[in-house]
Amino acid sequence: MTLWWIGDAVLLLVILPVVVYLLRGVLEAARSIVPTVNEIATTAAAGSKDLDAGALLLTTEQQVKDTVAGVANYGGSLDVIVDDAEQR
């Protein structure tokens, strides 16, 4: 009968607090993840929105091509008009 009471005491005074302590730690850890994940989701959405202007790179690319083509035309004309340094 004494062993029964010792077992009860161990259950109530040792095992139960240890179980509660450990499970509470797991719960707090899980709760601390939630706001972090929400912030990451907000940041990812904002980053995705910032990349909306990425489509304009196609326009930039075309304008760069046109500009370089214009510069090449000017360069070709200048190459014909202006004497080379070695000829002067």
Binding site: A30, V37, G54, V68
Partner: protein, 199 residues
Amino acid sequence: MSGAAVVMIIAVVLIVLGLVFFLVSTIVELRKVADGLDEVIAGVGQIVEKSAPVNGIVNSINEQLDAGVDLLEGLLVKKAGLSDAMGLIDSVYPGAAAAGLRNFPESTQVDAPRIGEVYTKGTLTLARLGREAPIAAASPAGEVLRNVEGGSLAARQLYPSVRHTRPENLPRSPVIGTDAPVQYEQRDDIGAPRKRRPT
């Protein structure tokens, strides 16, 4: 049933209740985490989708710009010579000559002449245009040199235009047509058969 057994059962029930409470709470929190991660995955997926073509486009732009730089550097060095080219660059962008030209590593070793202090930009451009430019006929020691009080006037005086003298009135262009203030009578002999001399 003894009192010890009842206490044992109560203790076990308490432990089980504690397990259920905390584990269910943990499950709820983990569900929230999973929902948040779903949103994260959606956002990251959009980022990946939108940024996928960026690399290729930027590389294409860089290739185009590289070609433009190669063209302009080569043309400048070909036409002006490496030394004058570095002087020109340094005159337009002070200090830029120290960086040198990308395709001409030896350009960093060139002692760039201080072209910007000797010639005006317009004069320099005209001088580079070759033999047919009016400035090329003049001596560099004369009016071509920069006049700090009127730098561009020295270049403009090389042209026959009188506008740089700031006259009060410039000659007007003649007005022609039926509404012209001066009307001339039409001569009858214009367009008529030439008179023949008597033989």
